[in-house]
């Protein structure tokens, strides 16, 4: 879906786009000047130098430069190279046959841009996992100076399991992921969104078969005038499905965070179990969070709950930590990390938990350094 298509949607469905305005992208000075990205020390410099930190280990990594897959820069480890097909134009296909299991070998998709990047990069992915197949995939979107759109269609056949991670390190990023989950299938999404000029991360899950499950989690870390929007639609279509969502947002400066989470339980979807939690931490009184949880339940025998809370750092806890010797900035950093920890615990892959924790620490440490100045 192109930027134009996104904007068109946002104009048609005003309710769903109440808090995120894409019009600004049409006229803004975006993309930022390359120099400004290069001078931002938190963003690693662009390819190939930013890629050097990745080549050390043996993880399977598929590299996309300006949206174009680069087989020569990619590293397959033990993953068959035919796993990925297609091109930027027609979209990329990732197909996993029945019973194929690639969990022990997570695949990372790294998206980088360079000086030749076009104004807009429109990505499409088709992910199909056969019955009993297992796939673990991490999308890593480096801070980009192009507007990136990404549309992902996901089919999970019976009892397929897909662990889908995503890191967005900044830039304008508009994404829709739609997952169809068949009987006994499991879709797990974890998104870490930083920056945001803006970011819109939409996740639609349709639990189509009995006992299908979904777990959606995420962290948004925002400051300055950044804007990030997570919008989820969870449809319980079949009986005995379970879904769980835990989202945390930390906002500083004049940033704005949005969480819209809708759970719909169809009339036939008895014994559905849905849980949703969104919590936001405001570090500045100019930051803003809009949370819109929505439950639409058409079946009678269901267990669904949602909660949403927006708050500041706990003054009592800050005092407690300081009274034990921590300086104010360290106490704040510790509490921010603690705030997002609950979400990190939802990540089942140890390696990713470490990776996400490191990303979060980089952010809070930069935040702390800024406060100390």
């Amino acid at each position: 879906m192109t930027l134009a298509a996104f904007i068109d949607r946002s104009r048609k469905d005003k309710e769903d786009w109440k808090y995120t305005d894409l019009n600004a992208l049409l006229f803004s000075s975006f993309p930022r000047k390359r120099e400004s990205i290069a001078s931002d020390s938190e963003h690693k410099s662009q390819l190939p130098s930013n890629y050097s930190d990745c080549s050390a280990d043996n993880r399977a990594r598929l590299v996309f430069l300006n949206g174009v897959w680069q087989p020569t820069l990619s590293h397959f480890a033990t993953v068959p190279s035919c796993i990925l097909m297609g091109d930027l134009e027609s979209g990329y296909e990732l197909t996993l046959g029945e019973q194929t299991c690639l969990v022990a070998q997570p695949i990372e998709l790294v998206f980088v841009t360079d000086n030749d990047a076009p104004h807009e990069i429109d990505l499409k992915f088709f992910i199909d996992i056969g019955a009993n197949g297992r796939l673990t995939l991490l999308e890593n979107h480096r801070a980009s100076n192009a507007i990136t759109t990404i549309e992902t269609d996901i089919s999970l056949r019976p009892h397929a399991k897909f662990v889908h991670g995503k890191i967005v390190q900044g830039g304008a990023h508009l994404a829709t992921a739609k997952a169809h989950v068949a009987t006994g299938g499991y879709y797990n999404n974890f998104s870490l969104l930083r920056g945001g000029m803006p970011i819109r991360n939409e996740i639609d899950v349709i639990l189509e078969g009995e006992e299908a499950q979904a777990a959606l989690n995420g962290v948004m870390l925002l400051r300055r005038a950044e804007h990030a929007d997570t919008t989820t639609h969870l449809l319980h279509q079949a009986p005995q499905c379970a879904s769980r969502q835990v989202y945390k947002t930390v906002l500083d400066g004049k940033s704005r965070g949005v969480f819209q989470g809708e759970i719909t339980v169809a009339p036939d979807a008895q014994k559905s179990d849905g849980y949703q939690l969104s919590r936001a931490l405001l570090l500045s009184d100019q930051a803003e969070m809009d949370a819109k949880p929505q439950l639409e339940i058409f079946a009678d025998d269901v267990k669904c709950s949602h909660g949403s809370a927006i708050g500041c750092l706990d003054e009592d806890a800050l005092f407690y930590l300081r009274s034990r010797g921590l300086d104010e900035a360290s106490a704040r950093a510790l509490l921010i990390k603690a705030f997002v920890t609950e979400t990190l615990e939802e990540i089942q892959i140890e390696e990713w938990r470490v990776l996400f924790r490191r990303e979060i620490e980089t952010w809070t440490d930069a935040q702390t350094a800024r406060e100390k100045k």
């Binding site: 706990d314 806890a317 930590l321 009274s323 034990r324 010797g325 104010e328 510790l334 603690a338 705030f339």
Partner: protein, 249 residues
């Protein structure tokens, strides 16, 4: 040596402390008793440097430092420690991490090297054992889901780890069963030393059977109304606070 002179403090313009005078020489343990709402916790928060408490008059010096000029963390580094009446829960931070970060922050402020993970683990394990907290409690989030008594023990554990110079125990005995009271008292007594002063705030004579005080003070309506020896605590236990212009607590 702690020296409090004519200390007045207010919370949102309401005066709570109305001229406290109190001196505690190094090595001594002083008990502060008094009816509910008399300002005991307020005094301890003012000493620890909590925001929202305005000192309008008076001075506090501790080992020749002007305590009131220091930030909360500077006071902690100078050796002030408050075992709180209501310890705070911190979800997402393990007790182990909390103790480790606190001890290293204080060591750093003293110009000492930080302890590495192994040294820290050894120290924390042994201190936790002394105070009767299991290792499992070290792995849990700070005070989250702790019973009232466990929270109080946890305060004493922090005190034992940080080895402060001025210990303020605000009703650390409330909510403790007899066995826990003995363990906590042992922990406190183990910390008694010639270069350490302690303020023990309590409602009960019982605690003072285990922690023998050098002096007992009655704080009522924002002022020290009477000071004496251990016998004063027994007298209060019998007569209540009626002599101090208050209903029996």
């Amino acid at each position: 040596m702690l020296s409090i002179r004519n200390l007045h403090a207010s919370i949102s313009n309401k005066e709570i402390l109305k001229g406290i005078d109190l001196s505690i020489p190094s090595g001594q343990v002083h008990a502060v008793m008094g009816p509910n709402g008399s300002g005991k916790s307020t005094l301890s928060y003012v000493l620890a440097g909590r925001a929202g408490y305005d000192v309008t008059e008076g001075s506090v010096t501790f080992n020749d430092m002007d305590l009131l000029k220091l930030s909360t963390e500077e006071r902690a580094a100078a050796g002030v420690f408050l075992a709180m009446q209501y310890p705070v829960e911190i979800p997402g931070v393990t007790n182990m991490m909390f103790l480790k970060t606190a001890l290293n922050a204080i060591r750093k402020a003293h110009g000492e090297s930080e302890l590495d993970a192994m040294q820290m683990l050894k120290l924390l394990r042994s201190k936790a054992k002394d105070i009767g907290l299991s290792e499992e409690m070290l792995k849990r989030a700070v005070n989250v889901g702790f019973s009232g008594g466990e929270k109080k023990r946890n305060e004493v554990l922090q005190m034992a780890v940080l080895e402060p110079k001025l210990c303020i125990l605000d009703e650390t005995d409330s909510g403790l069963d007899i066995d826990a009271l003995k363990i906590v008292a042992d922990g406190v007594n183990a910390l008694r030393s010639p270069d350490r002063s302690m303020i023990v705030i309590t409602h009960y004579q019982r605690l003072l059977d285990y922690i023998a005080p050098d002096a007992v003070h009655v704080l009522a309506q924002g002022k020290i109304r009477k000071s004496g020896g251990a016998e004063l605590a027994r007298e209060l236990e019998e007569k209540g606070y009626a002599d101090y212009g208050c209903e029996a607590a």
